[in-house]
């Protein structure tokens, strides 16, 4: 059972959604689109570095950009451990919210 923070969950989900197109800019945009949160690159890469260290994501160097001096982008991919972390997050979520919906919260 892997437990991850909400922020990590958001980043992992964004990467999963983007599939092969997950790099800094796209991940940031995806998170903004999904959750409305405007992460800075400081926060984003901080999370990515920690999750790299924990083994949920890995970095892949892309092809160099087709222009002079173009650098290759660094793409992010989920590892099996990252997938498992997301599955565990869903499971935990479901277990926690079992028999509860937004209406039942109003009942005392």
């Amino acid at each position: 059972m892997i437990e991850i923070s909400k922020a990590e969950e958001m980043v992992l989900l964004a990467i999963w959604r983007l599939k092969d197109e997950a790099y800094g800019v796209s991940v940031r945009r995806q998170i903004r689109k999904d959750t409305g949160k405007d992460y800075t690159y400081g926060t984003l890469y901080g999370l990515l570095r920690q999750m790299d260290h924990k083994g949920y994501v890995r970095k892949i160097a892309g092809d160099p950009l087709p222009k002079k001096g173009g650098r290759s982008k660094t793409y992010f991919k989920l590892t099996p451990a990252g997938i498992k972390a997301l599955k565990d997050a869903i499971a935990l979520h479901k277990r926690m919210w079992k028999d509860i919906n937004e209406y039942s919260l109003d009942k005392l």
């Binding site: 790099y23 800094g24 800019v25 940031r28 800075t40 690159y41 400081g42 926060t43 890469y45 901080g46 990515l48 570095r49 920690q50 650098r71 982008k73 660094t74």
Partner: protein, 860 residues
């Protein structure tokens, strides 16, 4: 897209630079590229201005996340560094021990010196008005040396107060000599007391404990006591209103109690009585301007008065009193007195010398660290190479070296505190202070301690950090460990520096010790070893003839006399002198000592011409004068004997004799011109010349006689040589402190040398093995290995000889009478240093030389 000119196509430089600085290596480029991509996107859709704003905003918002993440990852790395550091300590026990103990001793020295220096710098600082307190200082315009002196005549301060506007508070002060106190049937001498005007308490911040000391001091017959003295006399009882008798004559009521005065105050007393008491205690005419000028004057000016203006205004105040006077007045800031003295003779030079020694010792310890770390680097090279291969940057290697250093420094620092606490009592006895080391007590000391540790870390860590981080992983992996650390030029230079410092200290302490011994053994011109003196008080004064006759009955007593001052003191200055043949350009001004006719015989001063006084002494008739050789030069006369000589308003007398010069001041200064006169009014001492046998029984005999005459005074006596020693108390303290620190400096240097020899022996194991199999003897191998080190110590000598010569020449100039700096001192220091170095490395070299070559060559 033409609107985007070339220079606009770049994101704002400053925030980009900030982000580059903050981001970690591996993602730096990616983050920067991402930001550029978004920047250009916004620039295309909303304009460059908006994009620029966005970039700035993003930079500010990401500051905190970047810093947070940097700290997080550093901590993880540092944990690893520390683990490796501890493993290294355990692996190289002797090196770590040398490193840590050297640093600890160095830091302890620094800490102790810092305590001493802090105490000196804090002198008088407890006074709230410290910046506003001034000494009224006198100087003599006719005297070419232009030296300032705080001694002023008693009426001066009231006179200035009346005549000149602008003085807010003024007080005179006279430190009291020892006085007899009687309370409840006990007679005790008290040494530290004073006479002062009530406003003294407005000037200095002495804290009252009971009642108001200022009001108390307004009454002639009221005494102010320090808390500890009050407790000594009255225990827990309330002392206010209690009566104490002084000098068996004067009754005083305790009027107030003050907190004990801090040690670092120049004005210190346990009891204080009103100023005018001095007149009746010591039979001095207090309203007299010219005669006796041994009072201090302190003032505080009104806030709107400029001290310089006021100083100029009072400069010629003496001219109002005496029509002809060379004496000028000046205001001298009280806060400068301790460090600067009145004539640059304060403790500042010691403060500087000690601070320098402290820093030098720390430097020596740091050099050890640098040398051992870089020497050892061969062994660390593989680890560092591997770290680099897997991606460590230079900066991270440096961080590793620093964090190892910080562990070392922290351990050394804790050890240093232990050492300091252990040696603080010793320093206190050496320096006559009561320093203490408490973190709660003085926060500035805490800051100083941290500063010392930080300084150590910076000095000793920087070179090894850069040296180690420069290793190229390719070379490191390729070559074998033993051939690597061959670049040792810097190491050699540092060893030279270390030993140069040590040798300078050795030479200095040899010369200082030599000078102190010279002072101790110098023939002062009088018989200092056989003289005992007592205070001339009570009934002794009226019954001196009986006392003398009684004492002389004992065959162990050679002679007895009375005098104003002891032979090592040139007496007081007298002005208004007149003599036959005085050239107009010579002022009638000279020191005088009033002595009784047997004085010369008793203290052993020889006559060159004439003989001692023949007339009956009389305070009003000063008929006979005896001068010393120096006085002949100063008076500029020839054939003085028989010439007339006149002192003050008395009738003229005659010069009846010339005596040999004796050292009537400390050896710092030239012998002073002086004349001797019979003036019983001034006699202060009873001086006795004893035979050197059975001193105890002779002293017992003296006590019985003196007690019989002065039953109410405790019997106290002093040896003259002890009094003379006090002249050089400061020098002796300095000498002992410097000698101690020299030992430590040499010791730390040797620790470093020992470490290096250990390293070298390890490094050259194979070479020695091969030499031995080829037939080298043990002694030739020891010779080969010692040669290098001895060469370094030799070079160090060449540097330190001229340096110490210059320094010591300057120091010896403090003495008018001094030793020559013979070449032998320098040679001795050199031999000493070489010998110490040889002994230090001998253990390792001999061990290496006698090792069995089979063992050292086995693995190849």
């Amino acid at each position: 897209m033409n609107a985007l000119k070339k220079k606009d196509t770049h994101p704002p430089r400053f925030p980009e630079w900030i982000i580059r600085r903050l981001a970690w290596d591996e993602d730096r480029v990616a983050i920067q590229e991402n930001l550029r991509e978004e920047y250009f996107y916004i620039a295309e859709t909303g304009g460059t201005r908006l994009a620029g704003l966005w970039y700035w905003g993003h930079m500010f918002r990401s500051l905190f996340p970047f810093v947070k993440s940097a700290v997080y990852w550093r901590l993880i790395m540092i944990k690893n560094y520390l683990k490796v550091a501890l493993r290294n300590f355990a692996k190289h026990k002797s090196f770590s021990f040398i490193n840590i103990s050297g640093l600890a001793i160095g830091m302890a020295c620094c800490l102790l010196i810092a305590l001493w220096v802090q105490d000196e710098l804090n002198y008088e600082k407890f006074n709230e008005n410290i910046d506003d307190i001034f000494f009224v200082v006198k100087w003599n315009a006719a005297d070419q040396t232009k030296s300032y002196g705080p001694s002023i005549p008693a009426p001066l301060i009231p006179y200035l107060n009346d005549k000149y506007a602008g003085i807010k508070h003024a007080s005179r002060y006279k430190a009291s000599g020892r006085r007899l106190f009687s309370y409840d049937g006990n007679n005790v001498y008290e040494d530290t007391g004073g006479f002062a005007d009530p406003e003294l308490f407005d000037i200095f911040s002495f804290k009252p404990v009971l009642s108001d000391p200022k009001t108390a001091l307004k009454d002639m017959n009221t005494i102010v006591l320090s808390k500890s003295m009050a407790e000594r006399y009255f225990g827990p009882e309330n002392p206010i209103g209690k009566m104490i008798q002084l000098e068996n004559r004067y009754d005083f009521m305790v009027g107030a109690v003050i907190e004990d005065i801090p040690e670092n105050s120049s004005v210190r007393f346990d009891y204080l009585v009103q100023f005018d008491n001095f007149g009746r205690f010591d039979n001095v005419e207090m309203d007299n301007w010219g005669r006796y000028e041994n009072y201090l004057g302190f003032i505080i000016l009104e806030p709107n008065v400029d001290p310089d203006d006021f100083s100029n205004k009072i400069a010629n105040a003496f001219l109002d009193i005496e029509s002809e006077s060379d004496h000028k007045l000046l205001l001298y800031p009280y806060k400068n007195v301790r460090l600067m003295g009145f004539n640059n003779d304060g403790t500042l030079k010691f403060v500087l010398v000690f601070a320098a020694i402290g820093i030098l010792i720390l430097l020596i310890a740091c050099i050890n660290f640098i040398n051992l770390t870089t020497a050892q680097s061969g062994k660390r090279a593989k680890e560092i190479g591997l770290r680099k291969v897997v991606g460590a940057s230079k900066a991270s290697i440096r961080r590793q070296v620093y964090s190892e250093l910080i562990v070392t420094v922290i351990v050394a620092f804790l050890l240093a505190i232990v050492i300091s606490v252990a040696f603080l009592p010793k320093l206190n006895t050496l320096s006559n202070k009561t320093l203490s080391l408490s973190i709660t007590g003085n926060s500035s000391m805490l800051i100083a301690m941290l500063g010392i540790a930080l300084l150590t870390a910076i000095i000793s860590g920087t070179y090894p950090a850069f040296y180690l981080s420069r290793f190229s992983p390719v070379n490191v992996m390729k070559t074998s460990a033993s051939t690597r650390s061959s670049n040792s030029t810097l190491r050699k230079l540092l060893v030279i520096a270390q030993f140069a410092i040590s040798i300078v200290l050795i030479i200095s302490s040899l010369i200082i010790t030599g000078q102190m011994r010279y002072i101790q053994n110098k023939d002062l011109g009088f018989d200092k070893d056989h003289l005992v003196y007592l205070d001339f008080l009570g009934n002794l004064r009226s019954r001196i003839d009986t006392v003398k006759n009684e004492l002389l009955r004992n065959p162990a007593i050679n002679a007895v006399t009375t005098a104003q001052s002891l032979p090592n003191f040139a007496g007081n200055n007298a002005g208004g002198l007149e003599w036959e043949g005085r050239p107009a350009d010579v002022r009638g001004n000279m020191n005088f000592v009033s002595v009784e006719k047997d004085y010369f015989k008793t203290v052993g001063i020889e006559f060159i011409e004439g003989e001692t006084f023949k007339t009956v002494p009389d305070n009003r008739l000063l008929r006979e004068f005896i001068i010393n050789e120096k006085a002949i030069e100063a008076m500029k006369i020839e054939d003085p004997v028989g010439k007339s000589f006149k002192m003050w308003d008395r009738d003229a007398g005659q010069i009846v004799g010339i005596v040999k010069n004796v050292h009537n001041t400390s050896l710092h200064r030239e012998i002073q011109p002086a004349f001797y006169v019979q003036f019983p009014y001034f006699y202060n001492y009873l001086i006795i010349n004893l035979k050197n046998e059975n001193i105890d029984s002779t002293l017992g005999f003296i006590r019985d006689i003196v007690k019989g005459i002065n039953p109410n005074y405790p019997f106290e006596f002093h040896f003259l040589d002890e009094n003379i020693d006090r002249f050089y108390q400061t020098e002796r303290q300095i000498n002992r402190i410097i000698t101690t620190f020299t030992f430590l400096a040499v010791f730390i240097s040797c620790l470093g040398l020992f470490g290096l020899s250990l390293f070298m022996a390890e490094q050259r194991t194979k070479e020695i093995g091969i030499r031995k199999t080829l037939g080298a003897t043990v002694s030739s191998i020891v010779g080969i290995m010692s040669k290098d080190f001895l060469l370094l110590v030799g070079v160090a000598n060449l540097i330190s000889w001229p340096a110490s010569y210059l320094i010591m020449k300057k120091w010896l100039q403090n003495f008018a009478y001094r030793i020559d700096m013979g070449l032998w001192i320098f040679v001795l220091a050199a031999v000493l240093a070489l010998f110490i170095a040889l002994v230090t490395i001998a253990f390792q070299t001999i061990k290496a030389a006698i090792a069995n070559p089979v063992k050292s060559l086995r693995y190849e």
